[in-house]
């Protein structure tokens, strides 16, 4: 299992009701169902992914966050709301984060770090929009329209009064390296944040 998913599953307790925003082919939800006895839904818009989820027995709803929002889900319906590698692809990440913490007690967000040294280096040196394994697109066709850095995300959380319960940083291979832990905003490629509005 991918290292980021491995980290996330440790934060899900047995029987948790989970919402996965942009659940892809349902790998994580399937794992959580099997290993954590979790219940819940994945939201997805890619038809092939939706079909794959259905074949796996993952409850998947075709729903577009940008155009349809999350109004159909009630306050506090979920223990955890997940969003892996999709925050940078929605039109209003700030509003999505608010929604995540309206629906769930806790949110788990992962996204690529735009301040990773290789991206900084690429932009500084070539003067072209950076590309990487985590961000393999051209500037004109990328679905990643709201890129940010770890520092940006943390500033947004502070501004919104959202508490960061944990942050784990991994590199492009989803490995949890000590270098990335030491200088996350420079050396970390992907961050996994566990956030909440509950201040205990």
């Amino acid at each position: 299992m991918r290292a980021d998913l491995e980290i996330i599953q440790q934060w899900v307790e047995p029987g948790h009701h989970v919402l996965d925003l942009g659940c892809g082919d349902g790998t994580l939800l399937h794992y959580l169902q099997q290993e954590r006895n979790a219940t819940g839904f994945g939201l997805e818009i890619n038809p092939d992914h939706i079909t794959t989820c259905m074949g796996k027995g993952v409850s998947v709803i075709e729903q577009n966050l940008d155009t349809q929002g999350l109004d159909n889900f009630g306050d506090g319906m979920f223990d955890i709301v997940l969003m892996t590698q999709a925050l940078q692809a929605v039109r209003r990440p700030d509003k999505v984060i608010d929604e995540m913490l309206r629906l769930g007690r806790e949110g788990i967000v992962t996204f690529p770090n735009f301040a990773h040294w290789r991206l900084r280096w690429g932009l500084a040196l070539s003067g072209r929009m950076p590309e990487s394994d985590a961000l393999p697109y051209k500037w004109y066709n990328t679905p990643n329209i709201r890129l940010c850095t770890f520092k940006d995300f943390e500033a947004l959380c502070r501004q919104k009064g959202i508490k960061i319960k944990s942050r784990r940083v991994v590199d492009g291979q989803h490995q949890n390296s000590w270098l990335a832990r030491a200088w996350p905003n420079l050396l970390g490629e992907i961050a996994i944040y566990r956030i909440t509005r509950e201040h205990t």
Binding site: H17, F41, M54, G55, G57, V58, I61, N72, M77
Partner: protein, 382 residues
């Protein structure tokens, strides 16, 4: 005459009539002392009786869902695109049951069958049947066939309503409900179209208050109009445009009122054909069953409360250009299922054919349906 049938067909099939003589209480307060259901089955029931799938039909459907009755048949059963070896409802794995519902006109007890207590046709005296009544009769059919729990109850349109009702009335007797191109209740517009259809039938001078058989006539005109109106609601504007456009039957306008546009002659043809083969009283009954269906009604309109007893998993599918039961209606149902914390998967299939899309195999529809049913089959060891 062809000497072979397609290899992905269930092949030659024949219906059977099953008689029930335990009285059935109906929602309208009346009861039927005895009744017949005409049934077709495809595939084999396994030893545990765990692989049975019930197919519920829509307004003008019947028990003949797949395969052929003879080599002379021009067309297979009405849902042959989805039922057969290797198809979404794979008859190599599932035992598929399809029946003609009570009140129908294809052999099951209904207005055009004999009332055993009078020896005459029921005609308009056949009681009004509801979706819940159908489900009750289908549960008795399951008892008779030795099926304690369906692997899935599956239906499109009015058939989807039956699948939903099953999950509420017999929660432990189905593992999955597959609800395609359906709705949790008709809108005022839906009821309005049904009313036009009923008015077309009842205002036909050959209708005779439903006793047309006694007068040796048929309300052909009315039934034809009813079907024409219905047919328009089954197709999308784009599908009609694609099929007919503004094409004329002949080269120039004739400045008269006969069928000059292709779409006019198509609708007339469809209507006429239907009026020869379908019973007018059954048409009234089926449209009324549609109008009345509203499981949320007893719960102050809150469908999620109505769903409380359900135990099955749901698959809900809608089609982008269906304006009869639009994707929004399916989403209403899905949202209630989410609120009620039921397991549900939902997809809106992009297809240009309007409501009829549920009968037409498109890659995405077939793939999603197949993936889901494959997983159902694995779950029940089929």
């Amino acid at each position: 005459m062809p000497d072979s049938l397609p290899t992905d067909s269930v092949g030659l099939v024949s219906p059977q009539t099953i008689h029930f003589d335990t009285p059935i209480e109906l929602a309208c307060g009346q009861s039927l002392d005895s009744y017949d259901l005409v049934v077709e089955t495809y595939g084999t029931l396994n030893a545990e009786a765990s692989n049975a799938v019930l197919i519920c039909h829509a307004l003008s459907g019947h028990h003949h869902a797949a395969g052929y009755h003879s080599y002379d048949d021009k067309k297979p059963g009405w849902w042959d695109s989805c039922i057969g070896p290797g198809k979404p409802i794979d008859t190599n794995r599932f035992f598929v049951v399809c029946l003609n519902n009570l009140g129908g006109c294809h052999g099951s007890s209904g207005p055009s069958s004999i009332n055993p207590s009078t020896g005459k046709l029921y005609g308009p005296d056949f009681p009004v049947i509801t979706v819940a009544d159908w489900v009750k009769s289908q549960a008795r059919l399951a008892d008779r066939l030795g099926i304690q729990q369906w692997a899935a109850v599956v239906g499109g349109s009015l058939g989807g309503m039956q699948a939903l009702q099953w999950s509420l009335d017999y929660p432990d007797r189905l593992r999955h409900a597959v609800i395609v191109a359906s709705t949790p209740r008709l809108t005022a517009q839906n009821i309005a179209f049904n009313e036009v259809a009923r008015q077309a039938i009842t205002s036909d001078t050959d209708f005779h208050d439903g006793r047309y058989d006694e007068e040796s006539t048929l309300p052909r005109r009315g039934l034809m109009l009813a079907r024409m109106v219905g047919h328009i609601t089954y197709l999308s504007d784009a599908a009609m445009g694609e099929k007919f456009g503004r094409e004329l039957r002949e080269e120039a306008f004739k400045f008269g009122y006969d069928a000059e546009f292709q779409v006019e002659s198509y609708l007339r043809y469809q209507g006429e054909r239907f009026s020869e083969s379908f019973d007018a009283n059954t048409y009234l009954l089926m449209t009324r069953a549609l109008d009345y269906f509203d499981p949320a009604y007893e719960f102050g309109g809150d469908l999620s409360k109505a769903l409380a007893p359900a135990q099955c998993e749901y698959l809900v599918l809608s089609f982008s250009t269906d304006w009869r039961f639009s994707p929004a209606r399916s989403e209403e149902m899905v949202n209630a299922m989410i609120s009620a914390r039921k397991k549900v998967s939902y997809a809106e299939i992009d297809a240009p054919w309007g409501h009829d899309a549920f009968l037409i195999p498109t890659p995405r529809y077939t793939n999603a349906f197949t993936a889901y049913m494959d997983r159902v089959a694995r779950e029940v060891g089929a």
